[in-house]
């Protein structure tokens, strides 16, 4: 009768069962900080007089928003991270050149296991639901409490199930699936809720695609996105996770607050228009809008499958003179895979610039900040006013396929009807 989130939370709080609305205190399996929010956690840790973290092997530290440091201020934040890692003998500190975007590292390096309760001082921590963990973003102060006690309170969320069946058409992707969900639920439609993605289409999706949909759960307000672990999950985790873990799944007759049914056969390429993620339209409705910049990357769409898709479209084509294309692999591992598969060569030959793994331009940080009056199409997760640079710029969110086709044309282009020059 219990769904996967309820089961994970009862296990973590040593209770036989939990019910939505109930406040529980859970043991934390793993906690992550980056430099933007983590420096506050470290400051507070010292301020309250704490001496030692609860478990030096369960804290993962990944500077990722601004790496390598583009300013003295950013360099100072990285220094704070480095010194803390040394002081507390933190086992997993991914410095410049060792890691990449934290959310990719957490899954790729096997720090998260199915059934875990994981917190991160970043809102896109919900990504790890892709392998069947309950993971959620928290603030810097709460992270201080976790660093000291290894525990945190949660309200057991109601869960919305999203059942997906059918097959994605060529160049229609999990990103388009999520944008459809955002259109249906709206920016606060899943506030305080969990989102469970299920059904044959989800089972057919790779871990990369599952990470994209769970990653964006926060954009409709959800506490967590989650997908039951299956054979694909186990195959992905082989060689990454050494410890054993239970396979926790929702009961057949679990209770959900609400149920959405989506048929992937009906999905078309979608785009979030300025200035809200839920302002979703078919790409065909905004086709032709001229673009100054296209960005492919981030914790949402910077994985190998995303890069393969972009390369498939870019191969033999040139980025339009009107626009610039920036591509950022999500991690060192993704970068290396892309290099070995020849994708980087395809990108460079097309006229794209390929930068080192980092969050970079997604939050207007570096490596592609946009000017006033400019328009960017991006594979990232937020298009709020000023998100990627000037408050007078505009951001459209779409899939890597839409991004690649649009970069070639220099204007928003539907990848399903795209023909190279």
């Amino acid at each position: 009768m219990a769904n996967i989130i309820e089961k994970i939370l009862s296990r973590a709080s040593s209770k036989k069962e939990v019910t939505p609305g109930e406040i529980i205190e859970a043991n934390i399996d793993c906690a992550m900080i980056n430099e933007m929010t983590g420096h506050l956690t470290i400051k507070y840790f010292h301020e309250v007089g704490a001496k030692k973290v609860w478990d030096r092997e369960k804290i993962i530290m990944v500077p990722d928003h601004l790496i390598p440091a583009p300013s003295v201020e950013a360099a100072e934040l990285h220094k704070i991270m480095r010194e803390f890692a040394k002081e507390q003998k933190i086992k997993h500190f991914y410095d410049v050149g060792r890691g990449g975007i934290a959310h990719q590292i957490m899954v790729e390096k096997g720090h998260v296991k199915p059934g875990d309760v994981v917190v991160g001082a970043d809102s896109h921590t919900c990504t790890y639901g892709a392998i069947g963990a309950f993971s959620t973003g928290i603030g810097s102060t709460e992270m201080t409490a976790v660093f000291i006690t290894g525990r945190l309170w949660f309200k057991v969320p109601k869960v919305i199930e999203i059942k997906v069946e059918g097959n994605f058409r060529k160049f229609v992707t999990p990103k388009d699936l999520f944008l459809k969900v955002a259109k249906i639920l709206g920016a606060s439609g899943a506030n305080y809720r969990g989102l469970e993605f299920k059904g044959p289409t989800v089972r057919d999706m790779s871990i990369d695609g599952r990470m994209t949909v769970c990653n964006m759960a926060i954009e409709v307000g959800a506490k967590a996105g989650i997908i039951e672990p299956d054979e694909k999950t186990l195959e992905y985790l082989r060689g990454r996770v050494r410890e054993s873990f239970p396979i926790i799944k929702s009961d057949e007759d679990s209770e959900y607050e609400k149920s959405l049914e989506i048929n992937a056969n009906d999905l078309i390429p979608l785009v979030s228009c300025p200035d809200a993620v839920d302002n979703v339209k078919p790409v065909s409705d905004v086709e032709g809008i001229e673009l100054d910049q296209v960005f492919i990357g981030s914790c949402t769409n910077g994985r190998i499958e995303d890069l393969r898709l972009a390369a498939e479209i870019l191969k033999g084509n040139k980025v339009s003179d009107r626009t610039r294309l920036i591509i950022i692999p999500a991690s060192q591992e993704v970068f290396l895979d892309a290099l070995r598969e020849g994708l980087i060569e395809t990108f460079l030959l097309s006229g794209a610039i390929v930068a080192n793994p980092t969050c970079g331009p997604c939050l207007g940080g570096h490596l592609g900040v946009i000017a006033s009056g400019e328009v960017c199409l991006s594979t990232t997760n937020r298009n709020f006013i000023g998100r990627m640079g000037s408050t007078k710029s505009k951001v459209y969110l779409a899939s890597p396929a839409t991004a690649a086709a649009s970069a070639i044309k220099g204007r928003i282009t539907d990848p399903t009807s795209f023909k190279g020059d």
Binding site: S140, A145, I148, A187, R382, G386, R387
Partner: protein, 162 residues
């Protein structure tokens, strides 16, 4: 615990990038952060934010987990936020830094910018002195009220370790 202040009114979906843009997250002094609070949405915010109460629509604080969002509002002088609903990470962050947040569906329609409000955190009762109307917010659960009264989670941790 009673709080009084003048209203600054906003609509729905006020996101954390509006509250404090990411480019300022490298600032480590909360007073410096406060100077940039709401600057892209409401450039005159810091001129009126001292001892004010924000009244907003639904999903206040959506987006990032950056605690710098409630910190910048608190140091800009905001005494409390009353919204139809909050994004959950912002809600927790505000409580953890000791900034009172109340959920109230029907206040928004009864106030305008500059109205003088009195909030009672324990009962959730809100009085608008300008038009003599009342609204009822959801009372805060005991353990949350306790955290706010202590001035936030860090003070609790200090006591625990102390």
């Amino acid at each position: 615990m009673r709080i009084s202040g003048k209203v600054i009114k906003y609509g729905d979906d006020i996101n954390t990038d509006y509250i404090i843009p990411a480019k300022y997250l490298v600032l480590t002094d909360p007073k410096e952060l406060a100077k940039h609070a709401m600057e892209s949405l409401d450039p005159s915010f810091t001129e009126k934010s001292k001892d004010a109460i924000i009244v907003a629509g639904k999903n206040f604080g959506c987006g990032s987990s950056r605690e710098q969002a409630p910190i910048s509002l608190k140091y800009a002088g905001i005494k409390a936020i009353v919204a139809k609903s909050f994004a959950r990470i912002f809600y927790r962050n505000a409580i953890n830094i000791g900034l009172p947040v109340l959920e109230c569906e029907d206040l928004w329609d009864k106030v305008k910018d500059g109205d003088q409000l009195i909030l009672d955190l324990k009962s959730g009762k809100i009085e608008n002195l300008n038009n003599n109307t009342y609204a009822q917010a959801q009372p805060l659960p005991g353990f949350i009220l306790e955290l706010i009264e202590m001035g936030g989670l860090l003070n609790k941790l200090k006591r625990m370790i102390g």
